[in-house]
Symmetry: C2
């Protein structure tokens, strides 16, 4: 009667939060992985498991899909806490931009590796990145064993990486060709924003996205200042501007969308564009509160993200979920909006969809890749448990994750990284930070 | 030349964040403790330490005063996640109040012990509590080795603990007499709120607070509904109502103060009352955003608190600091307000002052009690470090705390509790939670 399975890995004794289309939870569940893929999700008495290479005992913990960070600049871990509590332009012009002139391939590699370590330890299995030297980001993610969507930032002025813009498109095409068959890495076209990209740049980016059928990722309507700039320049809101030049499509992930009106929301929905919500960064930089409940109600797919570690200042998606659940309640003075289930969906299933990875990750379903985390619930702040979704969103933090699998491979076990020599990476980062600190002292004196 | 010290405990190799009156930070600092008290804070080469009983190596971590949670209902850990994302009255009437009818001394003791475990593990060394069966709270805190301000909640109707209100005052006086000489526990008079307490009750509470020179702690102006109720009943705002009956004084800690206007703020300042700020609870329950930058600018002493674990849903003061720093930035659209230093002050020095414990705790200064924590910085999300205040507020979480001393006693070492059998407490809580779950099933079916 029972189906016989010979999986590579079996996870037992977990509360399995599948994040499938109906959000099923299996109280005493089993998840099997063979090779890269999930081959079984269900109750232990419905299968006959023979000769699994490895049995992982979840010890009553929560077994769930790995979290997906839909927007970050991973290598900005180098600048974590370099400057805070400042006006955006002061922060950028006097701290971040001068520090970024020192970046090179190796620095970005080290910064990304550090960020991958932080993300994996806190239960994130996939991230979407926008920065410079993105080939280094891809190499670091692959070495870390982490799933990533990478894309070189494109703007009208010269880049410390590729030089002139034409080279930026060449660099992007090289990335696409190099990584197109990779198991972990996918590539996106990433024009920075409507205010740093000419309509010609944006049109070319849209063309590449369509030609290669890959995501187009862009900052959009992050601040009132941006909105005013674009209206002044083009006579339309940033969203309407992108719609006008026919850039919006279901392949688009628009990051932030803080300052959007009803017409903008209708346009995003009409064109099928996706949104990345980054509440902690938007709060810290005082950008505003994105109308996420309204966007979701309109039918837009919204994924969650942390933004870069220099404007957050960590990459913990559990804390980001907690903030996402709370900020909209107080903003709308309605405690029933953005409930825990909806927020978890934004960090898993909908995040995958927003990145075009809905067939790859974001839920525990047979046929998807084995991107799985286990959250330890035997801790005072996770006791007692009445509702697993409440605990994930409101009580847990990334440090409660003790086991992580990505693409079927065990990468974190008992809270320890198996794929990264973390002491080496942290030492490398200290050397970099010392340089940045010296540079700053020189500048500030 | 050097002063010779023979301390019981010496902490070395730390970045010492003193939180003294000028906020001094000592890069490679030493803190000595003898008996209950701090006997030295400074550089290693300024003293000659002989025969310390115990040397604790901070390994480059942050040595700082323990955090002080100025408002919670610790034993509500029993109801953590029982019900979320609901209208306040639905939550209270259909979930919390029915569950609270089951409370007794033992339940409150277990719930408080669980909360103490969570707080100590996450770097909180002192909490201020308002609930039922507060003698159980005091006993649990003493057994846990934690500093606490306790006070039995008083209101116009009968209590599941003491019965009628007259008995409530007797119970409070018994608490005062029992605990007045305790090293860890102090007692406050705690009328619930202007809307659940008659003017007569409040006047009597103020009288007790003055007679015994102890804090008076009260919920105040938490919601617009409360403000409207009090205006309707008394023709004044809740703050003005308390001022009118002469309740406000420097001994008062007013919790929440979300819905206060300029006149309320002026009254609070004029009478020297202190405020407890609970941003995560105010967000989750959609109460609103307290005008904390305005209150601080007016000269009011504001301490930070988590509120109870059922409306947060954890007691992590590091996460609360992060939220406190961010929510006011986005609310005022100004990234420079509530900087990291100011927020840490709210969770340490000013929190102690708000509770009348300014000579006891809240900073690392000679003569104060040894309430000290060490934060591990050798972690990816704490790397690199440019600014220690930024890391404490924006990057750390409670799980980064590895060492805790309270009143000169080591209570957490290598992230492990030394004073509580945590597995026993968690098992006890599970039994309680099963009862509550059964009761709820019965109610809901």
């Amino acid at each position: 009667m029972h189906r016989i399975l010979k999986p590579d890995i079996v996870i037992i004794n977990g509360i399995v939060v599948t994040q499938d289309s109906v959000g099923e939870v299996i109280e005493n569940g089993v998840v099997c992985v063979s090779g890269e893929k999930i081959t079984y999700v269900g109750r232990p008495d419905d299968i006959d498991i023979r000769s699994a290479d490895r049995v992982i005992d979840a010890r009553g913990g929560i077994v769930m899909p790995g979290l997906i960070n839909t927007h970050t600049h991973a290598a900005m871990s180098s600048f974590r806490g370099l400057a805070d509590d400042l006006e955006l332009m002061d922060w950028l012009n006097n701290y971040i931009f001068p520090a970024e002139t020192q970046l090179d391939y190796d620095n970005v590699y080290t910064g990304t590796m550090l960020a991958c370590a932080e993300m994996m330890l806190s239960g994130t299995t996939c991230f979407c990145d926008m920065y410079l030297f993105e080939d280094a980001v891809a190499e670091a993610a692959r070495a870390a064993g982490m799933r990533a969507v990478v894309g070189e930032v494109l703007y009208d002025f010269d880049s410390p990486n590729y030089g002139s813009l034409a080279k930026g498109f060449e660099y992007t095409i090289d990335l696409i060709e190099k990584w197109h068959a990779d198991a972990l890495i996918s590539v996106a076209v990433e024009p920075h924003s409507p205010y740093l990209c000419s309509p010609e740049l944006l049109e070319k980016a849209a063309f590449l996205s369509e030609k290669y059928q890959i995501p187009l990722i862009i900052h959009l309507s992050e601040t009132t200042e941006e909105k005013n700039t674009i209206i002044e320049r083009y006579g339309r809101t940033p969203v309407a501007h992108l719609a006008e030049i026919d850039l919006l499509s279901p392949r688009v992930l628009a990051c932030h969308c803080v300052v959007v009106d009803d017409n903008d929301i209708a346009l995003l929905k009409q064109r099928g564009a996706n949104v990345s919500h980054n509440p902690e960064s938007n709060m810290k930089l005082a950008s505003g509160i994105a109308p996420v409940p309204e966007m979701i109600a309109a039918g837009i797919c919204v994924g969650l993200g942390t933004d870069g570690p220099a404007s957050n200042n960590n990459l913990d998606m559990f804390m980001e979920m907690d903030t996402a659940a709370k900020i909209h309640k107080v903003n709308l003075l309605d405690p029933t909006v953005m409930d825990a289930r909806m927020v978890l969906k934004m960090a898993t299933r909908d995040a995958a969809r927003a990145l075009g990875l809905e067939n790859v990750t974001g839920s525990l379903e047979v046929g998807k890749k084995g991107d799985i985390i286990i959250v330890d619930t035997k801790k005072p702040h996770m006791t007692p448990m009445y509702d697993v979704f409440s605990h994930i969103v409101y009580s847990a933090s990334g440090s409660d994750v003790n086991t992580v699998l990505i693409n079927g491979r065990l990468v974190v076990e008992n809270g320890q990284l198996l794929t990264i020599n973390i002491n080496e990476v942290m030492s490398g980062m200290q050397v970099m930070a010392d340089k940045i600190r010296r540079m700053h002292n020189w500048q500030l004196n």
